[in-house]
Symmetry: C2
């Protein structure tokens, strides 16, 4: 049987119009992209300079100077250009396009005759290129630049950057591979794998897919390339004393032997995304099985309820099954973004609700929490429990910023958020030969591949569970696959006001019929406040609950509930009131009854044996997690005591 | 009013005979001291060499070679000699004494004409001495050597080492002080302060007390000596990026301005011990107030129920109030030993049960846990919760050894335990002009300062709460102050079989009378199994309980209760059975009913909202915490769920 794949629709084929996401897209377009452009040009006062554009100008022979910034600084420009490419599909902007075109000219000038493109080595000496694959980021920057080339081509139809990245990919293809005389290696920081598959999908050139496949198959083979490279260079191995060794780079063993997610979380999910892409395009069953096993490991044993991943600051890494500390978490914004990349690729292979559930979980919680409401400040680390005193006094929590920052020396997260939001349509629905699958209920207009048929989605997600989908532009015989979110206890569906039925498989309601113009489906997913429990092996959450409503995780903040949030518990049979007095349009807050352990009557001693502390009754106000820390610095908690 | 001080009785004045402690003393004498002697001489197979004796021989001109080992390696020999001095009071041993005498000869030979004694600088160049007070340990080694000199003099009456350390102290006194031409500094690692006070008490030479006082008063004054020294030496500051900065050394501000315990825990409690000693001897009220405030901070907000201190591996340090993670703890054995040093010195100033309670808590739990039952293996770190998988896979817990080790490159803990146990009498009772105070009920014979009166203590602590105290050798009019342990809910006391009464003040029962020969007191402290709760601000323990019985903290081990100990809870109204089938003579284990959260029926997902996990009933077996890990590697937990 031929396998069915689900191709994400193009970004431009989903015109997003709903209040929630339109506001975010406007922030990306009006705030983040201009702000990041200023940052790339070192024009943000009291923020670390990026040096990025300056590096490109030096590499292009337009300015003098030395390379500055991180070795992967080029990727910031690439991510910015990718976001620009997508955002131009949301709203045309000639001025922005002119700026982007002019910077693409600089990139083209910086590119070497053989296609090589990395300003660090162009400036510091090309003779040294490809000699530090372990810790330098030439292939990583290349991966981002390839994504930028494709996005900008999609967004504008202009081929210049696409041609640049094809030459770059060809240069890499000429350098790496199994053939004699080529380097038998793979990147220290993954991403080029998934980018190369996209380049294959865009250009039809199979060599790009083969190169991605090579990078994945070669990874972690004995003798370890990174080990030999480090010895050859006479460098010291940064992770010498670490527990993960080469698994920091997911390079300690072949990818098919990696049963649990290990090492640097962003690298890991970028690799797994590449594995999924290659598995889909090649039909490699062992690779498919490997990436599914990793998926189960991450989503069933190493993922926070917010979709955050990476339990430890040390190595910004995964640790082990069920280790999910809420306060010492790393939970990098980029890692949640990467998890979404990966989930979408799993969804391309298999239409299963669990993949879309993870996209939704990470998107509305662990990703959106990375930016302030106004889009000018960002979190790198996304904790589920914060006590500012602890962050000031305990080195183990000193990586947790107690408020969002303007910019970062290593500014990977803000542009990663920008490119994700700008390309949201990519994650919201997909099609196969005869199916249109809707993953996320984002209000807007979707172009289907079936004639001129379009779908108008009317939704007030994440605040309300009611969705209307109207067929316009014709209709036709196709299957509409509508995701039943994992958080919904049941659903109702009507067609033109009449009850209708479909078949429910793997988290999707399939409705196959001759769709007529003006057909209107109404879906309703009851959005209840739910008390979530974690698997009892998660010791950080045992005896605790987290409230969710629809796709949103909720939290308590000090500004609403006072200090000492860890002492708060929820009452067993408390009801919930919804309140809409929040800081964001449509926002739904949750009011309920709780208790707080009383330390005032505790007395002098640290320990006592005359019974547990008294519990005083209090009213609790929960707000959506992604909105925390928009009203000043203070404590925050997601998992609270269940009693 | 003249202040009353309580002078600890001399080690030799408490002949310990009870089963529990006699066994430990025999281990120190027959196992630890010989083993450590082998270690000092680099004769332990597959253990890191100490180099210690070799360094002394080189410094004495008896052997050739370079200094090796840690900069504070000399202190290992000093601690060994101190333990030998005390243990010879427990049991004479000519062979051991001969070995000790011969090594003292070497030390004397190594000492420089001006009294200087530190093999690192004697070997590497005396011109550099006193130039790295921040991170080198000349004054620390001197402090330990002074303690050794006093102990060996007490133990044998031999003055050679005492003379050596007096010359050493005089050399230090000639080097440091407020006078022009002297160095205005203080040690990076404290201990010399309390040693100098002891030397003052032993010799009557007030200059030693003044020097101790100087080190304490000078500490942390602006401009910071360590800062200037580091700048002068052009070295980098190791704690540059740390949150505690110079408070790592308790040297960021004057000691009287230090309101919370900060930095390296062992250094801290050694300093506080010195502060208490100086405060007592000088009557300095601001110093007394300062050390009391620190005492309250540590014992009411930064101490584990086992008497462990030092919440963080980073800097082996204190963190902040109520931060007491059970699995990421440092809890160094030496820190609990130091806490006992400090508590005893507080008790010298004030007869208050809370000080003795801390001695008992740390002694029977956080200290004894540092050694294996047979006295040949040691813990450096004493966690209250261990999952071996976490220690192998999570860098944050990689400092927690999952089993006791033979020896350490930095072997401070084993000899520190040896010297503590060997001098136990020092901590067990004290006297003032008209009072004999019994702090710990250790079976044996106590020589009082009242004529020839002695007390025979008959006790089966920590297993039974009944104690008999018999007066022999005369009697007389004095006050007997008997500690009522903090864990006892009441007590009964009879004199010669008849109920008697005294006055109870600050945790001591005072019985003043004309004691007659053969008078016999019987005290009974009911030893109940108690469910302990922590102050609700201790988030690691909230919703959890720890079982204690008498002075002992109990724990669950995997070998008795299976894997997944964090999932275990105690039932609300469970009764307790006592069992005496343990590994140690007299051991009392606790059997009770508990629950375990069921993960088998949990299903596939990490999070769910259809109720908490099921609880299955199980029988639980608790064993004394200090005995954990004597039956193989596995999980262990002290604080378990309360439900």
């Amino acid at each position: 049987m031929k396998k069915t794949f689900y191709t994400p629709i193009e970004v431009g084929d989903y015109k997003i119009t709903d209040n929630f996401w339109k506001a975010k897209l406007d922030i990306v377009k009006d705030k983040m992209i201009p702000y990041q452009w200023e940052a790339l040009n070192d024009r943000i006062a009291d923020a670390a300079p990026s040096h990025c554009i300056h590096n490109f100008k030096i590499a292009a022979g337009m300015e003098e100077g030395a390379f500055a910034g991180c070795v992967f600084q080029d990727s910031d420009l690439a991510k910015w250009l990718e976001a620009v490419g997508y955002i131009l599909l949301y709203k045309k902007d000639e001025e922005l396009e002119t700026i982007a075109d002019s910077v693409i000219d600089i990139i083209e000038k910086a590119q070497q005759p053989d296609g090589y493109l990395d300003t660090y080595y162009i400036i510091n000496g090309l003779d040294k290129r490809w000699t530090n694959l372990t810790d330098h980021h030439e292939l990583y920057c290349a991966g981002h630049m390839i994504e930028a080339g494709i996005a900008y081509y999609n967004g504008t139809g202009k081929e210049k950057l696409l041609e640049v990245v094809k030459r770059l990919a060809d240069c890499i293809d000429g350098t790496f591979g199994p053939e004699e005389g080529k380097i038998h290696a793979y990147p220290g920081h993954e991403i080029v794998e998934m980018a190369l598959v996209r380049l294959y999908e865009t250009t039809g050139q199979r060599r790009y897919l083969k190169l991605a496949q090579y990078f994945i198959d070669e990874r972690g083979k004995e003798p370890l390339y990174f080990k030999e490279e480090i010895e050859k260079n006479g460098r010291s191995f940064y992770w010498e004393r670490s527990l993960f060794q080469y698994q920091y780079y997911q390079a300690g063993k072949p990818v098919r032997e990696q049963k649990t997610a290990e090492g640097h979380a962003v690298r890991a999910v970028y690799l797994y995304s590449g594995m999924a892409s290659v598995a889909k395009e090649t039909g490699d069953e062992t690779l498919t099985a490997a990436v599914k096993e990793l998926w189960e490991n991450v989503t069933r044993r190493q993922m926070y309820i917010t979709g955050a991943i990476g339990s430890s600051d040390y190595g910004e890494a995964f640790t082990f099954d069920y280790d999910l500390p809420n306060d010492e978490i790393y939970g990098e914004t980029c890692a949640s973004v990467g998890l979404i990349f990966w989930a979408r690729r799993m969804l391309e292979m298999e239409l299963k609700g669990e993949y879309a559930d993870v996209i939704e979980r990470a998107l509305y919680n662990g990703c959106l929490s990375g930016m302030s409401q106004d889009g000018t400040r960002f979190f790198y680390v996304n904790p589920l429990e914060v006590n500012p005193e602890a962050c000031r006094k305990d080195q183990r929590k000193s990586h947790v910023a107690v408020e969002r920052q303007k910019w970062f020396g290593c500014a990977c997260c803000p542009p990663n958020l920008a490119r994700l939001i700008a390309s949201l349509g990519n994650y919201a629905c997909a099609f196969s030969e005869n199916t249109m699958a809707v993953h996320l209920y984002i209000g807007g207009e979707i172009k289907t591949p079936f004639g001129n048929t379009r779908l108008i989605v009317d939704s007030n997600f994440p605040w309300e569970g009611k969705v209307k989908i109207k067929v316009i532009g014709g209709g036709g015989n196709f299957n509409l696959a509508l995701r039943i979110p994992g958080w919904a206890r049941g659903y109702t569906v009507t067609l033109n006001g009449e009850p209708t039925e479909g078949s429910c498989r793997e988290g999707y309601l399939h409705l196959r019929r001759d769709w007529k113009d003006e057909d209107e489906l109404t879906l309703e997913f009851p959005m209840r406040v739910e008390k979530n429990y974690a698997n009892p092996n998660v010791k950080s959450d045992l005896g605790r609950v987290a409230l969710t409503r629809g796709p949103l995780v909720y939290c308590l903040e000090e500004i609403d509930n006072g200090k000492g949030l860890t002492k708060i518990g929820i009452k067993e049979h408390a009801g919930y009131q919804l309140a809409a007095d929040g800081m964001e349009a449509g926002e739904v807050d949750i009011i309920t009854q709780g208790t707080i352990a009383d330390d005032s009557g505790w007395g002098e001693s640290l320990y006592r044996f005359d019974g547990p502390p008294n519990l005083n009754e209090i009213m609790l106000k929960f707000v959506p997690y992604y909105l925390w820390n928009n009203r000043g610095t203070g404590e925050m908690i997601v998992w609270i005591k269940d009693c």
